[in-house]
Symmetry: C2
């Protein structure tokens, strides 16, 4: 991913030539403390599985990461989860203030679509398909956050919890897979790719819930605001053992869909990506 | 604009089929208390001046209004200007809470680009040009807000004030004009349209500053947070008389550019738009 890091730093500077705290705040969360790059890797590995040169998808990989990063900055704000630690460093608003952090999130949200529209390697059809897909999924994620807010300080049922995870976490993983399909000109797989993302999202979030009760904050590099906000989690709802089984079932189902529903040249990069998620320790 | 109001209500419901407070909050600011529609009208009147059926530009007119509306919702937040009254009604966060208001702004920001990408009347080239233009201008507006934040509780010079207004207010008016040019397939005028928007933005903001000292809050339908935040304005910097002269000069310059630099079929709709701005009383 070294190439990709250089790519997004260059694109960021070219598209946001503005001095000042808001640009600094955007760079802080997107570039300097950029996290695990799960969604960009998913775009790139999907394209690799289709047998295409992954560099064609860097704009789309950056776009989904811009959306993910804006959502984290806003999610951490004092008026939202009020988290002060993320990726082992202070959250955006702790450094730049809630005002500039709000603007930085706004700028990254918009930047996602500018990166797609100004790509020099995608054709207009791909750009329009990517914009419409990413926008729909990003607003699915916002719906997930809306469900999340409505679920604070209350006991929710299993169906609501699954819907919450499908939207809040699954939508952007679906977007990443679908953007990979668009970059590879395999539009016939978009609906299957979308469904794989929902499985991965639910599994990923169950895994986070499991980490929250089995790992400490130093290992995780973030606060656990779920307890403070009295949020229901897969562990609180199903218990640790059943949550672990369900997580594995969702991952297995995603692997099965990869094998049976997609028109890939080589499923290995995408399978490896999912196996790496299963084995992650934070 | 009756047609346009029905159009955006329909597009909104189709693209955001989600129940809950966040969607309600988006509808509250975009649809129910939609303000003067200055930017949509500017898109539509630009297209009319090019001699094209304005309804081809409704998606673009809606997109720029989504960006404008998100910026107002976030600008009013307690962590930003902390305003409680807008368009004569309580601001978004007063009704829906700062958390859902933050999400509502995020959703409208993204929705702008989804509306463009899913248009049934624009071609792919127009969609890509509109996306890249609107995104660049929306992040110019964010830069303007960044300058604005840095200017609170401090005396700024004339040059900084003009840059602030050019970016914070001018960028979206430039975007509206340029989107009209894109819908009319007059890409050769985009740079001239951009410059007209900057003149209008500075004139419009000078006018707002003048209203803030000559009209009461009931007439304006909003709080005046500039005084509370000790912001420099054109009136505090130049005095009321000179601010009025400068405002008129910027409007006249915009009218001159419309007459001399654009390839219009009939300048009247665009001229009428600017004259209506000059004559507005709030």
């Amino acid at each position: 991913m070294h190439d990709f890091e250089a790519f997004i730093a260059k694109r960021f500077s070219a598209l946001l030539p503005y001095p000042g705290k808001t640009s600094d705040a955007m760079a802080y969360s997107l570039l300097n403390h950029g996290g695990k790059r799960v969604r960009p890797k998913l775009v790139i590995d999907t394209v690799a599985s289709y047998g295409i040169d992954p560099s064609i998808s860097y704009d789309l990989a950056m776009a989904v990461e811009c959306i993910h990063t804006y959502s984290l900055i806003h999610d951490d704000l004092p008026c939202m989860d009020d988290d002060t630690l993320r990726r082992g460093v202070p959250t955006n608003h702790v450094i730049y203030g809630p005002d500039n952090a709000t603007l930085a999130g706004d700028g990254l949200n918009t930047l996602a679509f500018e990166v797609i529209a100004t790509s020099t390697v995608l054709n207009d059809h791909q750009k329009v398909a990517a914009t419409s897909t990413l926008a729909r999924m990003a607003n699915g994620m916002v719906y997930g956050q809306c469900i999340d807010l409505a679920s604070e300080h209350t006991q929710i049922d299993a169906q609501t919890l699954l819907k919450l995870h499908q939207y809040k976490t699954g939508c952007l993983l679906s977007a990443a897979l679908m953007l990979g399909g668009i970059a590879s000109s395999h539009d016939e797989d978009l609906s299957a790719l979308e469904n794989i993302g929902y499985d991965l999202g639910i599994a990923f979030q169950f895994q986070d819930d499991i980490f929250d009760v089995t790992k400490d904050e130093v290992t995780l590099g973030k606060n656990n605001s779920d307890v403070r906000n009295e949020k229901s989690t897969s562990v609180s709802l199903f218990g640790l053992t059943k949550a672990k089984t369900m997580m594995q079932d969702y991952y297995d189902h995603a692997l099965d869909l990869v094998e049976t529903t997609l028109h890939l040249a080589d499923p290995k990069p995408l399978q490896d990506f999912i196996h790496a998620l299963i084995k992650r320790d934070h």
